[in-house]
Amino acid sequence: MNTLRILRDLLRYNGEFAIGLVLVLIVAAIALCSFFSPYPPMDVYVVPPDIPPSWEHPLGTTSRGQDVFWQLTFAIRNTLLFGIVVAFLSRIISLAVGLISGYKGGWVDRILMSINDTFVVVPLFPILVLFYFIMRDEMTWAMLAIITALLGWAYDARLIRSIAMSLRTREFTRQAVFSGMSTGKIVLQEHLPFVLPIVFSTTMNNINWSIGIEVTLSVLGFTDINTPTIGGMIYWANQHTALVSGIWWWVTFPVLLVIMLFIGLFLLAISMNEYIDPRSRLSRLGGQA
């Protein structure tokens, strides 16, 4: 089956996938709008402050004199990008660790897995706060992405390792070994394709996770407030006691948008998971019979 047909079938028969895709596309479209924004993202007092949603400002304006809609387009773009960057970087680490650990086994596996388990168990939030404590204003968006990625690979590496381990005993691996292929080549050419589906579904979850981290840290003021992000918007709204001041649109829309993104990505992840796991796919078929 080619990819397009899988996509068509998923869309037609998997409601979760369809809803998820629509939600993510809406969010992505809003993020793309940022390129057409009439206002520079970091400037304040470019519009009259505290205007409720109206024709001119569909989502209202903030107490900092920013248009909520246009601000939101930048915020969601940066937030989304953050999630994608973290997911991408952490996928590389978890793939490397998972595949090598699973393929090599023995002491390599043991060492990698004890590091892995440390990362699984250690509470990440204090560590992130610690990094902020050290880096302080050096804690830029990119830096935070790298650190988050360095902390967010362990859980999935274990998953990939278990698949790699089962691949190791398969016939084609043995053949490859006998034909003198190097470890790297075997892992990349022979094993990678088998773990890719799992990588895709964990990517969605990882984006969710990292965005959650970003939002939480920003709202608590542990990030760079110059870059507009969803967390940053809530941070500024809190700074201006927007809720008790009745500027609800400043908080509500970012929260709604980010919830849309979370649910969208999550639905994509579970529907893809279902697609990958034949057992649950069958149970869906059975359910419809």
Partner: protein, 353 residues
């Protein structure tokens, strides 16, 4: 012509009490109905099967994997779940306390006859016992509702049963993973027979066991059957096991029963080309060349060939085979087959071996 071929009835059969059969399966059809990404599919796993099993006999059911034998016994046991469903036909048991149609019973009534009258030894003995609980609990869960003995009496009853089957009652305290494969299979059989059921379905109980263990398990089943006078529906693809154990034998191919008769008769004079092939492929001492495999593979049950389902692989196929599905016809006394060729000339099939 046909009369010449009639085998001499065995003394066993002559002595057997002629009562009504314990199990009567009548024109049973059970299909899987599946919608796979928009395509409706119907898998005819059990397609128009009729058979009867008498009291006090071991009835063997043979066939390749995916021939529908597992679906058949699940249907007989009343243990089907969607997407498998009964489309037509009936499954009737004539138990000592009355006749029951499996698909006319309420869930409570079905529960009541299970284990007490109708018991089941499932395929894959390795995984049929709850891995996280001691074996003792399995006996309690399964049998306690069906016996009057409670508490210590019940334990004594179970222990007596185990001893009768030459098993150490200490296994009750064990977890499944602590037992060997053979041991687990014996325990499973003991579990299935603890209530002296009238009818036992044994689904591939010896598959995946090594030969010596297999022998022990088989003799155990034989012993139980003789001691309790139960009937056993014994399913395996291993023809050698059938030859050693079963009284009567049914052969399934692509969801249909293609031949049925006393085991001895079937082995001596297979009427269906497929049966003949199965028997000829049995290893014999002195074989040198590897057995010739049958060409082609079993048909998809979702899209079976028209006419006789075996015809694409049959060395004797004739024109009619491609068009009409052969009916099941008794060619020799107690020996039926569904084959146009055999029905025309039973002798032709014999030459295959």
């Amino acid at each position: 012509m046909i009369a010449e071929l009639r085998a001499i009835p065995s003394p066993d059969e002559l002595n057997a009490p002629q009562t009504s059969p314990l199990l009567t399966v009548d024109r049973l059809k059970a299909y899987y109905k599946v919608k796979l990404f928009g395509v409706d599919r119907e898998v005819r796993a059990v397609d128009d099967i009729s058979l009867a099993i008498n009291r006090n006999e071991i009835y063997g059911l043979a066939g390749e994997s995916s021939s529908g034998k597992s679906s058949l016994i699940k249907t007989i046991a009343g243990a089907i779940r969607p997407p498998l469903r009964v489309v037509e036909g009936s499954v009737r048991f004539a138990f000592k306390d009355g006749e029951r149609d499996i698909y006319r019973l309420s869930p409570q009534e079905l529960s009541a006859i299970r284990w007490s009258r109708l018991s089941y030894i499932m395929q894959g003995s390795m995984s049929v016992l709850n891995p996280v609980r001691r074996i003792r609990h399995a006996f309690e869960d399964f049998a306690l509702p069906h016996v009057s003995a409670k508490g210590a009496d019940f334990t004594r009853l179970v222990e007596r049963h185990l001893k009768r089957l030459h098993l150490d009652p200490a296994v009750l305290q064990a977890y499944p993973h602590e037992l060997s494969g053979g041991m687990r299979q014996r325990v499973t059989i003991a579990l299935a027979t603890v209530c002296n059921p009238e009818f036992i379905i044994a689904d591939e109980p010896t598959t995946a066991l090594d030969v010596i263990v297999q022998k022990g398990v088989l003799s155990m089943i034989r012993e139980i059957q003789q001691e309790f006078g139960s009937s056993v529906l014994f399913v395996t693809h291993d023809m050698a096991v059938h030859a050693n154990l079963t009284d009567r034998l049914g052969i399934m191919y692509a969801g249909r029963l293609v031949e049925e008769g006393r085991t001895r008769d079937v082995f001596k004079k297979p009427l269906h080309p497929y049966t003949a092939h199965l028997i000829s492929s049995l290893p014999r001492i002195g074989d040198e060349a590897p057995k010739k495999a049958l060409e082609g593979s079993p048909p998809s049950l979702a899209d079976p060939p028209p006419g006789c389902r075996f015809h694409p692989r049959c060395p004797f196929a004739i024109e009619i085979c491609r068009r009409e599905a052969p009916p099941m016809v008794e060619i020799l006394p107690g020996h039926r087959t569904a084959c146009h060729v055999a029905q025309a000339d039973p002798a032709r099939v014999r030459t295959v071996a």
